[in-house]
Symmetry: C2
Subunit: 425 residues, 2 copies
């Protein structure tokens, strides 16, 4: 019986992949205006269908409560009128971005008269595997569409009905604009086997984008036969150099940790020069504790701040995504850089320093997608970078690193125009 079901699923996934491939071929050739019309129609459909979306979300919420999900998880899952409106407005914002496809990235002539241009083209079919909020279904589907790609969206099972209701609006928008509805699809089931199948559909999926924790990313790298654009959660660091401005340190560290604890750009470990710890740390830790943050410190930190709990070695490698901060004293900038190289996830790190030479050394030596000076790590975000919207922050080194917006969801090709040139020799 199980085999029969798996065979059915396999067949369904193959059909879904073939339809996505066909849709991507069409989408790659349509004018930007048609894609924008589809996005605006999807936004209108989402507003019109808000009650149905909220009702579907109710089914997911009920199941989540029965399964005992935490309050924070339930809040991430919840859709209300305001959040549906925010999703619709997000689609319109993506429609308003310039069309990346066809843009000329470079253009030059060769001495033999050949004219060479590098122009943006869609990536093709993108498979997105994510664990989090249902609004990712709207954002990720819309960004893929804007860049001329077809998308296969595999969200978490806890948001299955919400995501299907959102998908219905995206597909209605596509149809109203005369574009193939198969440009955005979801597997028909929440079975985990569908993920494994996606990772092997190399004939119909060009890129896999996993968004989630380390175990998801590792599974994807282990199983995927398709190129992967990994989005790992961030184990982000803020480093207080001895030259840091004390007032700025309080404000920026508080923001970097506590503005939102659940996003990937939240600071998880604070490093502080031991030479300045007695002066810099107490007001910073005071403010954090007053805001409800738990401090896990090394020996030196616990001496300075008795309310700190002793950190265990695993704290340096933990992405809490919660109101907890690991704090460690270092013997200077090189030790800070070495700690980050060993424990960081190459996402986002920030140095607070008035000493420009120290800042330059940190910006040069820290090997993360985003390296900051005197700014909160919570700015690690495509919108804050001015990219309009993002699928997430890529932590790999190939193709897109840092925020992944519409431009990062494209590839390119070379157009070579000649007048009968033959290669000599």
């Amino acid at each position: 019986m199980a085999t029969v079901i798996e065979d059915d699923l396999e067949q369904g996934m193959r059909a879904l992949g073939a339809a996505a491939r066909e849709a991507a071929r069409k989408l790659g050739q349509v004018p930007g205006e048609a894609k924008d019309r589809a996005l605006r129609a999807a936004a209108a459909s989402m507003r019109a269908r808000a009650p149905a979306i909220i009702e579907a979300n109710g089914r997911d919420m009920k199941a989540a409560r029965e399964r005992g999900l935490s309050g924070a998880m339930l809040d991430r899952l919840l859709l209300d009128e305001k959040r549906v409106e925010a999703m619709a407005a997000g689609l319109e914002a993506i429609a308003a971005l310039p069309d990346p496809v066809g843009a000329e990235l470079a253009h030059w002539q060769r001495p033999n008269g050949l004219d060479i241009a590098r122009v943006r083209v869609p990536l093709g079919v993108i498979g997105i595997i994510y664990e989090s909020r249902p609004n990712v279904t709207a954002d990720a589907g819309a960004l893929c569409l804007k860049a001329g790609n077809a998308a296969i969206l595999r969200g978490g099972s806890e948001s299955f009905f919400s995501s299907r209701a959102i998908l219905a609006s995206l597909q209605q928008g596509l149809e109203e604009a005369g574009l193939p509805a198969a440009a955005v699809q979801m597997p028909p089931t929440t079975e985990r086997a569908a993920v494994g199948m996606m990772l092997r559909m190399s004939e119909s999926i060009d890129v896999i984008i996993p968004r989630g924790g380390r175990s998801l990313i590792e599974r994807v790298y282990e199983e995927s036969r398709i190129p992967v654009l990994a989005h790992l959660e961030g184990n982000c660091h803020t480093y207080l150099h001895e030259s840091a401005d004390p007032g700025q340190a309080v404000e920026v560290v508080l923001n970097a940790k506590m503005r939102r604890t659940g996003i990937c750009g939240a600071t998880e470990t604070l490093l502080c020069d031991s030479s300045a710890a007695a002066a810099l740390l107490p007001p910073v830790l005071d403010a954090l504790i007053a805001a409800g943050c738990e401090i896990r410190g090394d020996e030196g930190v616990c001496r300075i701040e008795p309310r700190a709990r002793p950190a265990s070695p695993s704290d340096w490698d933990t992405e809490y995504l919660d109101a907890i901060l690991a704090v460690r004293l270092v013997g200077g900038i090189e030790e800070a850089i070495a700690h980050i190289a060993r424990h960081g996830s190459q996402h986002t790190e920030s140095i607070l320093a008035e000493d420009e030479a120290a800042a330059a050394r940190f910006l040069g030596a820290v090997d993360s997608a985003i390296v900051m000076h005197n700014a909160s790590t919570q700015f690690a975000d495509g919108g804050e970078f001015g990219m309009g919207a993002e699928i997430g922050i890529a932590t790999g080194r190939l193709h897109a690193r840092g925020p992944v917006g519409v431009e990062q969801l494209t590839s390119f090709k070379y157009l070579v125009r000649g007048s009968g040139q033959c290669r000599p020799g």
Copy 2:
């Protein structure tokens, strides 16, 4: 016993990976001048050690002859004074290229005063797995070094001794410039198990670049837990549109097929509009046959050219890398585009046409790394594109597509400079 040897190999490979990682950390921080000095010293060493390199090559040649390798394979393997000098000159040419590391790719300000720059950084440690000529060892090692990367080079077993002799010069150059010799390494053995180990060394290798045929690429995608930048051989097409200039057609097709039959940009299939075949094809096929090319044609082609052999279905999918050309009549440009979508390898395709609308349609619709108009597919080459040198032509869609030169062997990071900004909301 086998297990003991495998354990030893595993341990050796891990040590090699750790040394490469350490070398990459250093290389990423050194000025371009030091890397160029290492490349020039390596060129000098190669000239001084030419007799040793040629002697090592003699051992490979002897073994290759005993194993009965073809004349063409033996020629690819052979190193003589002239070829060693060409390799040394190649290193100097790479030294003369601008340093890609640290270059600013983009720079902008945000309304909140944040200053954001995207700057080039090395990829890290690159594992290159290749099958072909020993000179790839020099070229690939030098390109990786120029871009600030450490390289682990796993060439074909048939060129093992030649490659080790070349490696000795690269490492001598590194040492003379005060750089770590571990920046360019080879596995200590020709055992195939070393490849499998490389593909799982995700803690010490950042990118795998396979160069070779479909079976190598497929094995790499199947086994690799590391991101892959694939270089597949090209099943390239030239398409004679009915508006093609007859004289240009003869010259360009002859060059595209016969200039060098063994390179990945060589045309393997010729498509021709049936409406113009009687006029266009005979002089083209005459010239090819006179140059020693075998023609495998569909029915229509065999009627026009009696010396053509009938093509079998597999011919449309074959990269001959030899003096053989598959030739097929098509009912117009859409059929040509569809044939290429079905049988091509997304490498390089060219249309010969005087009709500008047909050319524009072909350039827009053909989804290959390089699409040409009125030019020979043999121009698919980083040097011919003005990139200085290349590792090969990437046929994937992520990161680098088309020629892979020093710039394509880099990643980037974002530098964000602030004055104490906190993210609102």
